[in-house]
Amino acid sequence: MDQELRELYQQVILDHNKSPRNFKVLEHITQEADGYNPLCGDNIHIYLDVEDGIIKDVSFQGSGCAISKASASLMTSLLKGKTKEQAEKLFNKFHDLVTGKLGDNPDVDELGKLAVFTGVQEFPVRVKCASLAWHTMMNALHDKKERVTTE
């Protein structure tokens, strides 16, 4: 496989695509939101269970490409137990990473598991796939009712 392609489709991403974590409807939902990418038809629904400013649980449903599914899966595993502010910080970090603001060699220690999305910046058309779940999560967190769309 081509090196650039290998960096986009890292094993972790392929694995999350095949067996996505937190792919379900939560029993107790405090906030939720819909996201949609009209370009490719990807859609996602994020469920949140927030108590006292802390994300107790988070899950997702929907359909999409490997990048968007893996991104949603990884995001949900990272957000559990985080405060609203911590979640927003992670969102900003992720956004900077996939839009290339952190460069080709970002600080992996600081990014943690998110580092697997470093390759996305080389594929401008796939940035929307990677960020759909995150934008939708932000809408849910701020209880915005309108559907996120990447266009």
Binding site: L5, L8, L14, L39
Partner: protein
Amino acid sequence: MTVKAQTPVITNPSLYDVEAIRKDFPILQTYVHGKPLVYLDNAATSQKPISVIRKAQEYYSTMNSNIHRGVHALSGVSTEAFETARIKIKKFINALGKNEIIFTRGATESINLVAQTFGRSNLNEGDEVIISEMEHHSNIVPWQLICNEKKAKLKVIPINDDGELILEEYEKLLSDRTKIVSVVYCSNSLGTVNPVRKIIKAAHKKGIPVLIDAAQAVNHLHIDVQELDCDFLVFSGHKIYGPTGIGVLYGKVNLLDSMPPYQGGGDMISKVTFEKTTYNELPHKFEAGTPNIAGAIGLGEAIDYVSRIGIGNISLHEKELLDYATEAVQSVPGLKIIGTASEKVSVLSFVLDDVHPHDIGTFLDFEGIAIRTGHHCTQPVMDRFKIPATSRASFAMYNTTEEIDVLVNGLNKIIKVFG
């Protein structure tokens, strides 16, 4: 500069020389990610032969001037070239007269023109427009816009699991309230060739006019508007090896005459005062403003090119490619073809188990293969088959069976990564 046609004239289909044709298309020499380009996105837009590319250059280098206006030499030359292109199109689709050929920006604008003029003056509250479930958004939204405005209703002919129109349902939809039927000749996402003659006949029995969207047909099938007896027919230049930004609306002269103008401006008038304007005669009544002159002339050249090869020969070659591809993809585990109509043009839409079309598109790109992934501007079709998107390979006159092998190899590689 003189442009010399080098296209081989094929009189015997068994002598179809695809390699000679490929040499006429400079872009086919391109490398993508280090691999030779395998261009299988022809239903989105076709590539251009060198004669069309040179024609645009020739126009700007030797003729550029506004049409229908100046008394100077160049204006005469460009007007002549522009109107010659119109006559080429008239002949190509066998229209009765050249005043039935309106230049537009493309099939989309042609449909909007009919919706906003014919639709606006004929639709009233409770009236109906019939389209089909397999329409491109460009044959849905223009009708929705005018129907909403006029409180008219959009009626939809359903399709079966093979992606074919259910004609019995169509006949039930035809009523005294139907003011126009607007259907696609060949589906861009399924490949289905619709029985347009039957559709037109059934509508005409009730005196209802029919618009045929031939955007995906004009490059594959021989079209004779008099034989079809359609009332309107639209297509885009760029799908038939011509430039983008130029298209055609064919309309029967009595209908076009009865319709109000679409856009106002220069060229579409005979006399303007602040009190009253009289409109120009056909086809100029519908061509306000300076048109895409180079585009029209380029489209004329593309039609010459296609005619030299012969649309029948192109059809046969593409049929062979479609049959070969339909067979070859059976070897890809978990692949399902979407659109299995008995009559198809060379469009192969498919889904792969557990691999999203977007991922397929990115992987194939690295093999040099250009296909289209997504909903293909036919979201109702995707809803009908309960899928978010498909991958679509569409073949043109210059594609080869070797290229289809490259596609199938690419798909098998993807299965290994995602399996």
